[in-house]
Amino acid sequence: MNADFREGVLDARRALGAVWSGTVATASLLLLAAVGVLEGQAIGSGTSARHVQLRLLAGVAFGLVLPLVAFAASARVGGRLRDLMTMSWARYGGNRRVFALGRVALVALGGGALTASIGVLALWLGSATAAPTLELPPSWVNLLTVTWVALLGAASYTTAFSAAHLYAGNAGRVLFLIADWLLGSSTGALALPWPRAHLRTLLGGTAPLSLETHDAALCLLAITIVATFLYTRRLPA
């Protein structure tokens, strides 16, 4: 691994810290458990059990945990231009862009792993709370799908938050979160630039402009690439 990238990853790991990461993971699990218990009481048929699974996945794991964790992690790691310019490693001659990408990569990977874990637990919770006669067993295909969607979603959210932070500071991150919530929940053309709309499509929800599922994945990838490009463009090497 490139030394600058490795130092960026290590720097982000130190900045996040075990206590913060553990607290966030625990809070996410408790949130899922609480919602799971409340939703589980309403399960009466196979269809309703599947709906509960979907609500836990789309509503809690991907709708709440993923954006909020990416938002909080980007604040924790810090990414204002002034901060990145004075980072010690870059100050002593490390490549600032590669270093910063290392930091973003760790946050994206951590957010993706946490969301995937929460998503898998949501699937399991849906299966476990459903009556055995409803035949809702966990499936490997579902697990793999949840994992790659979580990683792609985390990458798009993390890079977008990082770019917003770099260009407009904390206000930029907050505005992105609000816009993602408001505009990403719609199904028109305005929903296209926001990860929420495409994650919803990938999880079986209504797609903006009736896009196909694979188009939603491509849109998430495009958001990630554009945000990464803007991020590295703004930051001097």
Binding site: E7, A15, M85, T86, S88, A90, R91, G93, N95, A237
Partner: protein, 321 residues
């Protein structure tokens, strides 16, 4: 020969600063509010100028990692990564800069296992200074107030190393201290509220001595306590106290030691200074005193007193703590 070039650099508070340093030692005297810290950051490559051009051998330090590797620097505010100890921080820098961690540890006398988060501001600066001075072959050395801390031995060693570095590369030192500027030698520039003097001065103008003795009028909340403390300062040659107006006049041989003595006396007497005003009959000397040198001397005194002395500059400036 390598060289640092700044062309009409604007960056708050710097206002169109131009400077060319091809080698040797250049000293920029001014307070941090004048922009010395910003200048050091721009030259070290941790900040990009808002406008203008900065280049070391035709490459901008803020945009070129290779150029930054060849810069040894001490910044006004040294932030270190959290979660590491001193040894863990120095290890990757050995590969990056070619420095010897053992030399740095030896110079700083810091325990290798000390957590970076537990270092005081002075220790962080000491560590950064040791890293800068251990650089084997810098093309540019940028040091902000390198003589501000440390005992006499450390200062002497720092001076010797800076002189040594000045023989092979360009060295830019920014400092608020006139005395330090004189100790460092080289070309002296004055940075006053963002404006850099256009030409270097071989020796500092007479503002530092104001034609021999310097007299400063002082008003303080507790003038008697301050008077008692000033009476113990060997730098103060003569003291007068106008009881009606509560005005103390202190005479000394040079401005900076006198300002230091006043600052220390204010700390000892636990009093707040309300006024510091130099007395001089010489118009040129008065101008020199009022255009920065006195401010710089106050800043140096304030930094070294390291306490809550409130100094009100003589020309309508804001309070400084």
């Amino acid at each position: 020969m390598s060289g640092l070039v700044l062309e009409r650099v604007w960056s708050t508070p710097l206002a169109g600063v131009s400077l060319e340093l091809r080698g040797g030692i250049g000293v920029v005297v001014g307070d941090e509010t004048d922009g010395t810290g910003e200048l050091a950051c721009i030259c070290a490559g941790v900040r990009a100028p808002r406008r203008g051009r900065v280049a070391l051998d035709d490459r901008a330090p803020f945009a070129s990692p290779a150029t930054r590797r060849s810069i040894a620097s001490l910044l006004p505010d040294e932030t270190l990564p959290p979660g590491l100890d001193v040894r863990g921080w120095l290890a990757p820098l050995e590969g990056l800069l070619g420095i010897s961690a053992a030399t740095v540890l030896d110079d700083t006398k810091l325990e290798p296992t000390r957590a970076l988060a537990g270092l005081t501001s002075a220790e962080r600066r000491t560590l950064a200074l040791a890293i800068a001075l251990a650089h084997p072959s810098p093309r540019l050395v940028v040091l902000h107030d390198p003589l501000a801390s440390g005992d006499a031995d450390v200062r002497q060693r720092t001076l010797a190393r800076i002189a040594d570095l000045g023989r092979g590369s360009a060295v830019l030192v920014t400092t608020p201290s006139l005395a330090d500027a004189r100790r460092l030698g080289g070309s002296v520039y004055q940075l006053d509220r963002g404006l850099l003097s256009p030409a270097p001065q071989a020796a500092w103008p007479g503002g530092s001595s104001a034609g021999g003795a310097v007299v400063i009028d002082i008003e303080a909340d507790e003038p008697r306590a301050l008077l008692a403390a000033l009476a113990l300062a060997p730098t103060v040659i003569e003291l007068r106290f106008d009881e009606t107006h509560g005005l103390i006049s202190a005479r000394g041989a040079e401005l900076e030691p006198l300002a230091n003595a006043i600052a220390r006396a204010a700390v000892d007497a636990r009093t707040t200074l309300r006024l510091l005003r130099p007395q001089t009959d010489d118009l040129d000397a008065a101008r020199a005193l009022h255009t920065g040198s006195l401010h710089a001397a106050y800043a140096a005194a304030r930094n070294r007193a390291q306490s809550g002395v409130i100094v009100r500059p003589p020309q309508g400036g804001s309070n400084e703590r």
